[in-house]
């Protein structure tokens, strides 16, 4: 889907992104994580050509992005940023309709699509369509921002710390929404953050970046279990590492099939952290597990969590 090959960007001779290579497979939720100023936003903005690339190449679907006119390229890529950048003089509906309108969709199709997206982001269309951004809460604004990024059904979604300015409750909710939307739409997402908890929660793939370079890349659990160096080890956090591991491993990985237990079942794809929390709350060391259809499939036990 996206191939980044030795991409380099310098400002005044100082490299901000240096020889960065990464392949992102279609349908992947890739989280690019690193400390502030490590060049992750710059890299993101190189992909939609807001920042011109100095050396190396970036290809989307096999085509070098420099061969695609910048405006056409950007209309194919959803873009959401921390401060939302919603147009204050346009209604919610007009904001969401931005890219479809640029692409010249017929009005009826645009209206339908806006409706669909507002529903997807759990914003009641009748209540929100005609409101202006400054009449919305921060969380609602960011929902509109995400809806706008998804509007023209882009093949790729770039998100630059979209939830960083939200309060923890709204951030949690929007992270859940985004995971749901990702499963639903199978979009390729490249998401930038400096928050390790957020990264672990969202990523199917993680890329850790430091001083313009790629330090490690892999599945979240690989990064937690086998950090490539001290930087990554520090960054993912020595403290609370066990809990982080519990949040990337799934109940299904430790399931005892065929056994049964009493009580409300936990879902098969829930993180172990959730099972651990439920055990502590219910003062039990065994929980029943159910699959997506709610059928009992087995049991998870306290001892399995630390295996």
């Amino acid at each position: 889907m996206i191939e980044i090959e030795r991409a380099t960007k310098r400002y005044g001779g100082r490299p901000v992104v240096e020889g960065f290579s990464l392949n992102i497979v279609e349908g992947e939720f890739c989280v690019l994580i690193g400390p502030s100023g490590c060049g992750k936003s710059t890299l993101l903005r190189m992909i939609n050509r807001l920042v011109p690339i100095d050396e190396g190449a970036i290809r989307i679907g096999g085509r070098d992005i420099r061969d695609i006119p910048a405006e056409a390229l950007r209309r194919r890529i959803g873009y959401a940023i921390q401060s939302t950048g919603l147009f204050p003089h346009w209604t919610v509906a007009d904001n969401v309709a931005t890219v479809p309108r640029l692409l010249g969709w017929p009005p009826a199709r645009i209206r339908e699509r806006v409706e669909e997206l507002l529903r997807m982001l759990r914003l009641d269309p009748d209540g929100f369509r005609t409101r202006y951004p400054q009449q919305l809460s921060g969380g609602e604004q960011q929902r509109v921002g995400v809806a706008r990024a998804l509007a023209a059904d882009p093949e790729l979604l770039l998100m630059d710390e979209p939830f960083a300015a939200l309060d923890p409750i709204n951030r949690d909710r929007l992270q859940d929404e985004l995971v749901r939307i990702h499963r639903l739409t199978k979009k390729t997402i490249l998401f930038v953050t400096h928050d390790i908890e957020e990264a672990l929660r969202l990523a199917t793939r993680m890329a850790v970046m430091d001083r313009g370079r790629l330090v490690q890349e892999g599945r979240p659990i690989e990064i937690l279990e086998r950090p490539a160096d001290d930087f990554v080890r520090d960054f993912v956090g020595r403290q609370g590492l066990g809990l982080k591991l519990l949040s990337v491993r799934r109940v299904g990985d430790r399931l005892r099939r065929g056994e049964t237990a009493e009580g409300e079942p936990v879902p098969l794809d829930a993180p172990l952290r959730e099972a651990f929390s439920a055990m502590a709350q219910r003062r039990t060391d065994r929980l029943p597990v159910a699959d997506a259809e709610g059928r009992p499939v087995g049991v998870i036990a306290l001892a399995d969590l630390v295996r």
Binding site: R45, N48, L50, A70, E71, A72, L73, R74, R75, Y79, I81, S83, T84, G85, L86, F87, P88, H89, T98, V99, L102, Y132, P133, Q134, Q135, R148, L158
Partner: protein
């Protein structure tokens, strides 16, 4: 508007407007009053041209000057806030500032030998005098557009032109309008001196009154000019409010 009829009646705009219109059209009715106030003045009401005609001519001068200053000023502001023109920012600011520092009387004196008597020298003087507030406000308005909004617009595939037309100009409009308001209001007062070089304005009775020692003429011209300026300022205030409400 809401369904409250007294809201329109409570607006000062309505009453100032009516007062201005009444004076403009029915100054004759005040003849006894003016006779008493200015016993030396003969006649007590300016006769050489009707007040509506003076007003319309005055209005034309101001509209011509402000429209051209508005177009040129906004165009210059757009130019110096684009990447291609940012180097010219200093020059444009300096030129506009010089335009306003130059006394309009001096501009008239210089313009008359070049373009002759009549309305043109006045339009030139008003244009130069009114350019600075327009340019300054237009630049401030364009620079006040939030960077994140422009970034998002670019990132979604707006062309530079589309950003200007659909984002920059609508968002800068209230601040630009404030500049135009200052410029036009000052222009209305300043236009009166155009009457010294052949322009017909509400200043004409003032200068005739000065020449003929007729205080009534001076008062008539001065009051009408002042009301014209106040009324225009109020209209702009209302327009600005409406624009800002649209943006929120």
């Amino acid at each position: 508007m809401t369904g409250r009829p007294h809201r329109a009646l409570a607006s000062p705009l309505l009453w100032v407007g009516l007062f201005f219109l009444a004076l403009l059209l029915r100054m004759d009715e005040l003849r006894p009053l003016l006779r008493r106030a200015f016993p030396q003045a003969h006649p007590a009401i300016y006769q050489r041209a009707s007040f509506p005609a003076l007003f319309l001519s005055h209005l034309e001068l101001v509209v011509a000057a402000s429209l051209s200053a508005g177009l040129v000023g906004v165009a210059l502001a757009i130019f110096v806030t684009r990447r291609a023109g940012e180097d010219f920012r200093g020059i444009v600011n300096a030129l506009a500032a010089v335009g306003q520092t130059f006394p309009p009387v001096a501009v008239l004196a210089v313009a008359v030998p070049v373009v002759g008597f009549g309305p043109l020298p006045t339009v030139i003087a008003l244009f130069l005098y009114g350019l600075l507030p327009i340019v300054e406000n237009a630049i401030a308005g364009l620079e006040g557009v939030p960077a994140a909004v422009r970034e998002a617009a670019r990132g979604m595939g707006f062309s530079e032109r589309a950003i200007l037309v659909q984002v920059d100009l609508p968002l800068a409009a209230p601040v630009m309008l404030a500049g135009l308001r200052t410029s036009v209001t000052i222009g209305i007062g300043t236009a009166t001196i155009g009457s010294t070089v052949g322009a017909v304005t509400l200043g004409t009775p003032i200068f005739d009154g000065l020449a003929g020692n007729n205080l009534a003429f001076i008062a008539e011209g001065a009051v009408l000019t002042a009301l014209f300026a106040i009324l225009t300022d109020m209209l702009f205030a209302r327009l600005e409010l409406r624009l800002r409400r649209g943006i929120g």
